[in-house]
Structure formats: structure tokens, C-alpha cells
Amino acid sequence: MLAKTQDDTAVRISVQTEDFDIGIETDRIRSVASDIGGIASFVGVCRSEDGTLSALELEHYPGMAEGQIATILNQTFERWDLKAATVIHRYGIIPVGENIVLIITASTHRKAAFEAADFLMDYLKTKAPFWKKERFVDGSTGAWVAAAARDDEAAARWDIGP
């Protein structure tokens, strides 16, 4: 399924409720790919929004979430010479300060790893079926988070059609 990768273990996708460990995941990437020159990663964390937020409730579309992440990873491997990549996205209740998403990309060259990680995050935000709802520290439930126009603009930079 992945264009430039023969080895399935070079790609790891997980949609899960439990937290992840960037150290363990980085070691895994290192163990499955050879001739790596750079490993870029990004951890998305639940922001406190100046102390008002207590948690985010993350809803997802089971099946389509994994499928869309695989599709986006496929495009990423077609575009950059990656050796391995990992995408982990959590769902359920995520308290402030906890991890939401992890991206790791490994390549022979630094720029490819950086750009691929940036691209993956842009497309996860606009194409992966997840939705966030706010929970406030006063116990009330907030609104569903509105999609930011800047996320669509960020994704549009990469010149891939909708």
C-alpha cells in the first residue's frame, strides 16, 4: 500500500485512548529503518487556554480515522524519501497537559524528515476524522472546537487538491 516502503513495519499507525511514549516510539523507528540521518517528531499537547480548560473530549470515526491516516502517510511517502514514519492519535477525554497526537518521521536527510512531519500534521488536522469538544475547569461543557481557517491555509501550501 505504501509507495516507497517494502517493509510494513516502517509505518506504524495507531488510534488509541492510552498515552504514548516518544522515547519508546523513537527507539522503534530507529530499530526498523537503516541509514537514518534525521528523526523529526511532533507531539500535540492539550493546551490550558490560559487556565480555562480542564480537558478536551476527542471524538473520532473508527475505521475512517485509521484509513485516512494511512492515505495521508501514503502521500507523504510518495513525496518525501522517508525511511519510516509513525502516527499515533488519541481519542476520548484528554486532560490539559496530556498528549493528543504524535508524529515521527525518519529520513536520510533532515529537510525531508522536517517537511514530512509538518505536512502530516497539516493533513491530519484537515483530513483525519477527529473532533474536539471543550470541558472547562468550572465543570461546564464547552463548544465543539471550530476548525481554524489557518489550518486549511496551512494544508493548501502543499498544493494537493481536496
Binding site: 471524538e59 493528543i100 483530513k127 476524522p129 477527529f130 465543539w144 472546537v145
Partner: protein, 86 residues
Amino acid sequence: MSEVTVKYFAWLRERVGVPEEQITLPHADMTIADLIAHLSERGENYAYAFADQTIVRAAIDQMHADHADRIEDAREIALFPPMTGG
């Protein structure tokens, strides 16, 4: 007349009141836009959920779709607001 599973997510799910349901398509050759128009007539909750159709996103068999896309023999349609993952 064929049946499809329609799934709703986030505030669309909350407004409709159910996470998914079986819908019998009233005629063949319907688009996503036709399905939304059909659902909007099912009651106040649906009319409220689909009041602003421009922000409703859709998937046909778990692939992103446009409102103009035909449902054809799809088994699962999903309707949801713009995604906010990542």
C-alpha cells in the same frame, strides 16, 4: 430502493440525536446533497442539524466526498462538521 447506514459525528450527532441509523434512499442516483435535503425533512432535529449545509462534510464508505458525489451502491455515509484533529 436501497438502504444505507448514515453516521453522524460531533455536533451533527448531538443535534440529530443518534450516532447512526439505517436510511432507505427514496430513489436511486442520489447525491450527498440529495441525502441531506431528504434527511432535513425528517424532523426539527434534522432541520436544525442541517440548517447550514455549507459546513457539513461527508464521507462515502469512509472516503471524503463532495456534496455533488453520487451515493450509488455505497453502504456507509457519514456526515460531520469540519475536522479538528491533530
